[in-house]
């Protein structure tokens, strides 16, 4: 689907943007006219993916968002290249599955560092430019785990719930500077990672579909579309909020049935 030019001449950073929902988001933002800087871990792959985005002149920058020095350096590259930053999508995230009783402390801290601490400090580091500009939009990526718990996902659920509080408080701190902060919460979307989980038996697609009111997985681009809405002027009075893009998964509380949702 072609974009609507909603983000013409806007500069957007997408962390973790070289694959999956992040890449799809970067692609949709670019289709809407934005210049993109992808921040991700593998420098060559990130540069390659940035080159492949619609339009030209996008950046792919090696940046470990948990590293203060790398963050500042990467943001400076964006400023040197494009002159400003209008949109930040804090998409980079990791998971660790473990029963809470066996949770290794090191893994717990690592997930919190990427999913929560890096979101805070990427936002802080970018806010200086946005405050100067008197405008900006930050979109954090939540999850259905922002609202519902799942077995073995303690740390993921904790970070994705924390994202909501973080977003709300950033929205209040920066509302006076016309910087909006919102959270887009994906459900189950057809991405390479999801396909991997299905292939290795971690996820049963039929079971998942049976408790999604829309009775199907989402597309990767569904997230990019919602992010584009929050990045654009169409949402200029929306801040501190979260929206589920989950086919109704979190609206539904029944048991699920193999022929669709049941009570």
């Amino acid at each position: 689907m072609t974009g609507f030019g909603l983000l013409k001449n806007k500069i957007a950073i997408v962390t973790g943007g070289s694959q999956g929902l992040g890449l799809s988001t970067a692609t949709y933002l670019a289709q809407n006219g934005a210049k993109i800087a992808i921040f991700d871990l593998d420098d060559e792959y990130t540069a390659l993916k940035a080159d492949e985005l619609p339009g030209s002149g996008h950046l792919g920058i090696r940046c470990d968002v948990t590293d203060a020095t790398e963050r500042v350096k990467a943001i400076q590259v964006v400023l040197d290249t494009f002159g400003t930053i209008d949109v930040l999508v804090n998409n980079a995230g990791i998971q660790f599955h473990s029963g809470a009783q066996d949770m290794p402390e090191e893994q717990w801290l690592k997930v919190i560092n990427v999913n929560l601490n890096a979101v805070m400090f990427m936002s802080r580091d970018v806010s200086r430019t946005m405050i100067n500009n008197g405008q900006g939009s930050i979109i954090n990526i939540g999850s259905i785990a922002s609202f519902q718990a799942m077995p073995g996902r303690t740390v993921y659920t904790t970070t994705k719930t924390g994202i909501l509080g973080l977003s709300r408080n950033l929205a209040i701190d920066w509302g006076p500077y016309n910087i909006r902060v919102n959270t887009v919460c994906p459900g189950y979307h057809d991405t390479p990672l999801l396909q991997k989980y299905i292939a290795n038996g971690t996820l049963d697609p039929e079971l998942i579909k049976s408790r999604i009111p829309m009775a199907r997985m989402g597309l990767a681009e569904d997230i990019g579309k919602a992010v584009t809405f929050f990045a654009s002027e169409l949402s200029e009075y929306i801040t501190g909020q979260s929206i589920m893009v989950d086919g109704g998964y979190t609206a539904y509380g029944g048991a699920g049935g193999l022929n669709g949702v049941e009570d």
């Binding site: 459900g187 009075y237 909020q241 979190t250 029944g254």
Partner: protein
Amino acid sequence: MDYRKHHKKVVVITGGETGIGKEVARTFLHQGAKIELLGISEPDLIDTQKEFGTACQFQIYDVTETDTTKRMVKNIVERHGRIDVLINNAGIHLKKATDTMTVPEFKKMLDVHVTGAFSITSEILPLMKAKKSGNILFMASMAALIGLPEVIAYAAAKSAYLGMVRSLATEVSSLGIRVNAIAPGWIDTPLLRKALENDRNREKKILGRTPMGRFGKPKDIADAASFLCSPEAGFITGTILPVDGGASIGF
């Protein structure tokens, strides 16, 4: 901005002749939709129809007169052959201390918002089911998300929308029908200006606890409505989206 993203869609809006409803209608119209306005004020309906032109039609329809719903929907079908979007927007307001509010006043509030929206929704649903597509949008309120004094009936009615959205979304989303709500905050309409005209202090207080420090515009609601009912929101159903400058997140 004109994206034509609702090209040829038939959009039904209750209470569409003034305020937020009118702005929602205008936005869908600019994006290519055909509009059916439903309202009770004939002069306003006529004026709005004149302003919007032939892509906009109207019927005088009181959402509390549910025995006329079938006829009203039949008229739309005869005119357009289909209904793609229903926006349950019609509403009234009543600010009154709870111990002075009467049962008829309370019931009226539920009749307009809850029973009214149910009646239209249930009548239109079979049309959307038959074509396996459609969007139903409820205009809730931040009064359904945070406590505000002296609006017990309004809060009850708008809170009912949240349950209706979740229940209906789980019931019909697998048939291609998405159901969502918007919860507007303090939006700059003639109604709000009237409520604030003799109370500058209240305006200051409200804006003081709105993180964005300003009232919203009817267009802000219209843009959110257009997004939620468009293919851009194709996997979004059962949600409540506040459009309130952050007023409901609390501080």
